[in-house]
Structures are given as structure tokens and as C-alpha cells.
Amino acid sequence: MDKKIKVIIDNKSVEVAPGTTIYQAAKQAGVDIPVLCYMNLHDLGVENKPGGCRICVVEVEGRKNLAPSCSTECTEGMVVRTHSVRVLNARKNVLELILSDHPKDCLLCQKSGRCELQDLAVRMGIREIHAVENALVSTYRKDESPSIIRNMDKCVMCRRCETICNEVQTVGALSAVNRGFNAVVATAFEQDLKDSRCTFCGQCVAVCPTGALTEVDHTPKIINALADPSKTVIVQTAPAVRAALGEEFGFAPGTLVTGKMVTALRRLGFDKVFDTDFAADLTIMEEGTELLKRITGYLNGDKTVKLPILTSCCPAWVNFFEWNYPDMLDVPSSAKSPQQMFGALAKTYFAKMMGIDRKNLVVVSVMPCLAKKYECQRDEFKVDGNPDVDYSISTRELAHLIKLANIDFASLPDSGFDDPMGESTGASVIFGVTGGVIEAAVRTAYEIYTGRKLESVDFHELRGFEGIRTATIDFNGLKLNIGIAHKLGNARKLLDGIRAGMYNFHAIEIMACPGGCIGGAGQPLHHGDSSIIQARMDAIYREDAGKKIRKSHENPYIKRVYGDFLGYPMSEKAHELLHTHYFKKEKL
């Protein structure tokens, strides 16, 4: 280990490791330097450090100009002042400059109250902005896609979205264009996001400090549907939502609020409160069966069988491979995502059971995800124009609905999901974290393949935040090679390797967002604090551990739906309702 470096920050002496930035060293000294463009999700390997906003500038003794603390490394004996008159004057003026080119409609902004720029203005006590009359302000065309709204008038050029889109996700939909005052982050040729190669993963929205990138808001449609007496409105909630929703109501990150959430949804007026987890168990039955079928076929020498099998629960990931790997469309599992499996069953099985026409049944999903908004609008998920899932809202939108309905969330009693699509297992809960889908699949596939009972259902080797993880699971002699990737850049690495014939994986799980769905773009904003995502992950595993049934194939309602309706996994009926196919997307 290298020798420590001694620095003095605001008269406090600290010792830091070589390579530590002034900003990080200041934290150690109990000094919280304000930042805007800088963002570091340390545990998740996501960092944005362009040194562009200049909010975090500090005075370094012996240096001619002020130093950006986020991107200046400490040197031995460095003396730093973070709030001298010179620094405060500079910081205030720089912030005023940003505000001089930013709309002042905070009261009407979707980000109001959780906008990092607004917080800065409050913290710096900005009361007026010195700019000439008719000073130029940036105006751009508003761009609305199925998931994401771009209002670039509010862009502060922090470049976080660009970093996440290019370096982390390697999607390449967003990039800075133009020069000087006209510089802004845009798509290629400034086309609409829906026409770009955007996967709607929404991570740009998750990191945007202002209201420049926000989600499409479906809450008014849901309020109207709930008020319509001719409609039966049912809701499904994804596993990751229960581990994060509490944050919107002041609960500590990682607080599980499943019971309160169900009560709140019932009070909002949903006729049935179901669980996407039920559909996740169904996914395991279908995907797990497909996995075993492919592997046995492969081992029996069937040359038409392609391995590895890739999970297909994540709609951003589906978009990503449709854009980038059109030659490999037969590799992912044909199983629909849990959201869509739920929708398909709801509008057939459940509708029939209740005697309702599908047109009068409104299916709402609460998702930690923005790509789900796009997914439920895909044409193949509609019957005669009527979608299997009518509206998908984010965790944040659900919180907003609860607040609109004057529900005091904290004081709510717990209650349980409705039958028959509310029962779920621990296996389905862990769908919310990276590695969870494959762990759930292994729990079921192992028992079906070997005919033996698993001694322990906890596969710790499949868990964690490492971007790409690999493990070999022994299926009683059959060594199953498993790959896991989260963040699309890591998915690209795996896919490129597979295309080049470098790997011999049997199964791969991919999730687009950092940490999996718990870090999804529809979740409460993390503002660059990766400990929040860690806490959600812990909560998910806690929920799993606390479940009586932890294997999908043991879910009694799953058994019932096969017995009553579907027949058996990958039956003709299951194929019709629970499986899909993929489309080649043409590059520009």
C-alpha cells in the first residue's frame, strides 16, 4: 500500500490514500463541498466527473486559479480552502450563470423538491440573478417518447446522462452537440428519442439533476380509470417497488413496505391488488423449462439448439439486443417478462374467471422501471388493439398517487395481496436484484432436473454488485455455467464474447440497470448515493429469506393456474399467452 498523503482542508488535517480527490478528502475531513455535475455511484462502478459545472471549485494554496475539487487529486501538503471569499464569490457567480440560462418555473416542474439545482440555489441563498434584459436563454423542442420526456431547456450540461448512456450502457443515444452557448445533449441529428437507438432504460432520467429528463406521467389516466364505474381496475406490483417505495415517505432506504403498499393500493380504489411476483414464478416455470429443454437438446446433440439461453425479463435489455444483436434474436428465452405474462393471464384467465370483457378490465403495473411503459405499448402485447397491460407507472408515480389521495402512508396497517394472482415465493422476490432471476431459475431447474430437493436455496455465488459475474452450479454431475451481467455495457461485453465464441455459458441473466431493478429508473432518486441501492438489495434478500415458500414451482397458485388453465409449462396455451418473439431493429 502506498504511503498516505497529508492534506489540510479548511484548517483540518486529513490523511488520504494517493489518488484521492480533494472532494473525497474533504468528506473525510467532515467538509461537504457542493457539487452538481459530479456523480459517483461508487459500489456500482458508475462515475461522472467531467469537471464542467465548476460549482465544486476550491482554493488551493500556491495554485493560480481555483481547482475543481471533484477532479483534482490531492498532493502531499496541499492546503485547501473551500469557503473563502474568493471561492464563495466564484461559486455564487457560477451558479447564477447556470440559473441565468435555466427556466424559473420551479413550481410547475416535475423535479421540484428533488432537483439538485434547486437545492443548490437554496443552499447558496441565491436571491437575484444579474443578467441583462433579454439575455439569451436556451430553448429546445420538447421531445416525448413512450417512456422519457426530454425538456432540454432545463439541461445544465452536467453530462451525467451522456456518461451513463455511452460509457455505462454503451447505448450511444445521447451525446453533446453544438458549441458554446448552444451546446446541449441530444440524439444523433437531433431526432426524437423514440426514433433513436434509445432502449428506454431510463438511466438518464435516474441521474439527471434537473427536470431536463423526466418520465412520462400516467397518473391522471389511472385516476380517471379508477373513477370509471364501467371498468374493473387491477394492479400488479413489481418486486423491487416494495423495497424502495418507503423512501418517498421518509422511511430509511431498505425498509420493506409491502403490506402498507398493498393497503394503500386498495385504498386508492383498485379492485384487485395482485403481485407481479406471481408472474415471476410463472416466468421461472416457463423459462426454467425452456432452459432445461435447450440444455437436454444440446447434450443430446441437437445442432439446432442454441446456447446459452438469455433471460428476457428486462425490456431495456430486449431493446438493446434487438438494436445491436439482430443476428442473435434466437438466443434469448422466448418467455415474456413477468409484467406481460401477468397482463396476458389477467386479460384471459382472470377476466374469464370474473366474467369481464377484456375491454372493461384495466391492468395497471407499478414498476421500478421506465422501459416497462414502452414494453406494454408494444404491438405484440395487444389483442385487437387492447393492450394486456394498459398503464405502467413508476414507483415515484405510485408515491405521487398515494399523496394525491391524502393517504397517510406511514400509519397504514399491513395487508396481503388478493388471490389468485397475489401469491408468490421468495424466488420471485429476488427478480428485483441482479442475479436474482437466474438464482430463482436455478432453484427450480435443479429440482426438476435432478429430482432431488435442494439443501440450501441460497446461491451466494450468484449475488453481488460486480458488473459481470460467473459461476458454475453442479446439477448432480451436469456442470451448469452461468453468467450474470447488469448494466448494458457489461451485457455488450458478454454478447460480443459469445458472438466471438469465447464463452461456454449455458445460461445468462442480464438486467439493464445498475444493481438490477432495485436501481431502476422508476425508483426514488438515489442522487448519486449507491448505499441506497445496496440497502434495497439487502431488503430484497431479507424478504426472500422470510418467505415460507422460496421456490417457484412450489407456489400453489402456480400449480393451480397450470391445472385449471395452462396445462403444463410450454404447452400450446402457454406458448400463445406467455411467450413472444423478437424483432430486428434497423440502425440509422
Binding site: 469537471g51 457560477v94 458549441r179 458554446g180
Partner: protein, 597 residues
Amino acid sequence: MKHVKSFILVCGGTGCRASESALIADDFRNMVRQLAIEDQTAVISVGCFGFCEKGPIVKIIPDNTFYTNVSRADVEEILKEHIIMGRPVHRLLYENPETHEKISDSKHMDFYRKQKRIALRNCGFIDPENINDYIARRGYEALGTVLSKYTPAETIDIIKRSGLRGRGGGGFPTGLKWEFASKSVSNEKYVVCNADEGDPGAFMDRSILEGDPNSIIEAMAICGYSIGASRGLVYIRAEYPLAVHRLEVAISQAREYGLLGDAIFGTDFSFDIEIRYGAGAFVCGEETALIHSMEGHRGEPTVKPPFPAVKGYMGKPTNVNNVETFANVPVIILNGPEWFSSIGTERSKGTKVFALAGKINNVGLIEVPMGTTLREVIYEIGGGIKNGKKFKAVQTGGPSGGCLTEEHLDIPIDFDNLLAAGSMMGSGGMIVMDEDDCMVSVAKFYLEFIVEESCGKCVPCRIGNRRLYEMLDKITKGKGTEEDLEYIENLSKVIKDTALCGLGQTSPNPVLSTLEHFRDEYLAHVRDKTCPAGKCRALMHYVIDPEKCVGCTACARACPAEAITGERKQKHEIDQNKCIKCGACYEKCKFSAINIA
């Protein structure tokens, strides 16, 4: 065998070519053939002579006769009279504007007398498209010497001892820069020549590349040997087609001669050069932005450190030097570091090339020893201010330099003195202003350039400079206040203090230096709402002198805004609220009765 007695050197620089110098050279060649004197006469297109004010330039060697403003019609006379009959064509000789004496030998012209041409040593002497010409003037001897006599460390030591500092603007010691790159351990390193000359009106680097491209190739190879790089890249503006062409010719000739490629001079040193084109963004002259542009990324700077010497092109150690810096290298090797360091001031060695422009008689390209005063440059070499007007200011250092005044004229030019005076060396632009120039407008003009050229990455440069520009615009329109001046001054300092790269950190210099040296002029704009130089249209008033007005009505009839009233043979008056300041009345009045106030 040919025994050439006379060489006709025709300027082939971009400036003179714009005045048909390429056709003049063709005419010379054709007529030389017609006159059957090709055995004794050689016509050569050479690089820029620097005296662009009087171009196209034609020089006859060995007499050293310097012809100015030559046109195609003069070709026949020069050949028949001078080359054949030995009688110089007097009417084409340069005339001293004061004594009206005709000067034949360029050595006696004031323009050249105080110059010392090191970087420009071959410009105007050799055919830049013929490597043999370069070799004849000791070309590639320095590379041979280095490869056969010196280790890389010894070579770096020579450059260090010479005191050469970067000519691109920063003035960083070149030898030290090489040493940093040489100490970085990597399987691959790069030598980059920064030929992204972007200052308005500057053409130092272009002229060197157009007039002496081989000197850059040789210097890059020497640098490659010194730092352990085998690949060189020249980042050059696509707007310099002639420089690009000549560089391409020189590179291919050097390859043919084995001066680029594998095993140069029979040693195990290999080096080759590729050209990369810039799209004309000013900020790409900043070395990190330049590197990103070459990598195919958006041309915007990144925070240093890491410096390119550690992590540069493709993440590999990279040494970036500007064209003029490289042009000095071979001569330093040949003549020794002591020779070089004997020229110049204590901390700035050698010479500096400047592009003289603005309200100066001898617009052009000059090279003077460091330590020459601004006065010598402007009044002796530059021939003083145009039309006998009064000197007001000189802007050095390009758009982000500062404006210096009369009191600075005796400052010996070097990196540190210019910085201390509130300006900078920059890459060598020098723009002279006279009494007719409004300094607020000048500052506004430079800011307009910066606003246009900022990459937009950091807030102070992207928004701050735009706001500064808007403030200055407000002042030139007579709407500024004294508080605005305070705000401008503070904002300028904040921008200097917080901007990410050299462009932003220096961008407020024109504002700060004019505010400091010409505060009265700013005050006149904001307090009295007048523009002392009479440049700011919004602040001008046309008034009719009642003493002189005879009531002829000519002005009223000319006024497109019907702002002038008055009966025939009565005094007329201008309604200032209606006046659009077009100046039509002023032009029409035969009695000088209309004044500008």
C-alpha cells in the same frame, strides 16, 4: 549542365497566391522558355516572405532584389530588363514611405532590418515541394547528428539547455515537456504537431508549413527519438489546403529518401507521420481537446492532470508541440543550445514569429528576437500607424490576449513581460489599433469570437462569456450603468478563476485589459452615453450647426426617416427620436453644417 545565374523566387504563400502569384510564377516559367534563358534562370515558388502588405513579392537572387506588388503584366519587364539586361525595374522596388527612397536589397528595408529569422529561416528561400532544397540548407543534418551522436537523454538535454519554450501560447519549456514524455513507460508513444492555428489573423504556423514543411518533419522525428515514439501525427486545420498539400508532398518525399519509415539513417530508429484534419474549432488548439478530436471524440478539453505526457492520444504518452516550436528544433541541434540561448531575454530564448495586422502600415509576418520592444515592432518593422493616425493599443496573444497601450510600448517582448502587463504571448497574433477604434467594441468583438468558439463544456465559458458579451453589447448601445462595469469586472475574474481550459481562463483578458487601460472610455459610454471613438452607432448623434445651416433642404430630402424639419432658407433641426443614424444627411450637406456628436 545547367549553370543557373539567376533565381527568380516567387512567393507561393496563401496570401500572395490570392493575388495570382501562382499564375505569375507560371508566366515567368513560360517566358523564361520563350526567351530561351532556362539554362541560366530558375523560377522557384517559395514560402512566405512575410511582407504580405506589398504582395505578390518576387525576389531575384543573387542580387537580393525585392520586388513588391508584382502583377502578371510585370513578368516580361522583369525578365527582359533585370534578368537579361541587368537593370532592376525601379518602379517595382519598395519605397521608404518617409524618405521616398527606393530600396533594392531587402536587407536594407526597415521591415527586415530588425528581424532575425530562425523558425522562418527557409521561408522565402527554398522550394517547399522539393526536399533537395531543404537538404541543401542543412536539412535532416540535425536528425542525422542526433541519431548518430546523441542518446535520447542527451538530445532532451540540448533542448532543455537551449531554453526553448512552447510557441503555441503557454510558453512551457519544451525540453521539460519532452523529458516528461520520455519518462512515461509505455509500449507506444506519440509525437503530435499542433497545427490547429486558430487565432483570427494569425498565420505563423501556416506559413512555416507552406514554406518549410520538412523542418517540422525533421523536428518531429528528433522528438520521437528523444521520447521513444515511433509515430507522429500532425493535427492540421482542413482550411489550410496548401499547407496540407505541401506537408503531404514533404512526407512522401521524406519516405522516399528513407528519412521517415524504418531504420532511419541505418539506425534502429523508426518513425512515420500521419496527418489528421481538424474541422476548424478554435478550442481544438488546446492539447487535450486536440487529442480528443484526433481520437474521433467531441473536441473538448479535459481536466489536467493527467497530462498528455502521461495519458494522451489513445491513452498513450503523447508529446504535443506547436509548429513554430518544432521549427526551432533542428537549428538548435545544428548550432548548439548556447547559440540559441544567447538570443533573447533571460527567461525567453530565441525568437518569436508574429503576424502583424490591424491599423499598421506593414501588415505581414515577422520574426524578431525575444526582447525586441513593441515600439520597434510597430514603428520600425511595422512602419507605424496607417494614414498617420495616432496609436491607441496593440492586442497581443490572439482573441484571449490583452490590449496594451502607449505606456507598454517599450516593454521588451517576452513571455513573462507580456503576462505581467496583463496580456500574453499567445501564438503570436499582434493587432494594432488606432484612435478610431472603440475599445469597448474591440473587447466585444473578441468576446463574440470566444462565444462562438467555446466548446460549451464548462459553465463559466459557456454561459459566462455569453453574459459578458451581452453586457458589453448593452454598453455599446448606451444602456450600460456603472454597476454593470463592476459586475463585468467581477465576472471576468470569476471566469478566469474557474474556467476549465486555457481558452476559458484567458477569454476575459480583452475585457479586463481594456477596463484597466481604457476605463475612461467605458465610463464615457455608461455615464455620458457617448463613444469617444465615434464607433458605437447607438451613441452617435447627428446635429445641425445653426451657424452653418443655410436651409437648402437637401438634408431633409435625403432623410429616409423624415427626422429633419425646417422651412426653406430656415435653420433645420434633427429629431433625435426619429433619427436612425444612417448618415444620409451628413453625406448630402454641402455646407459642413452637420456634425457628429
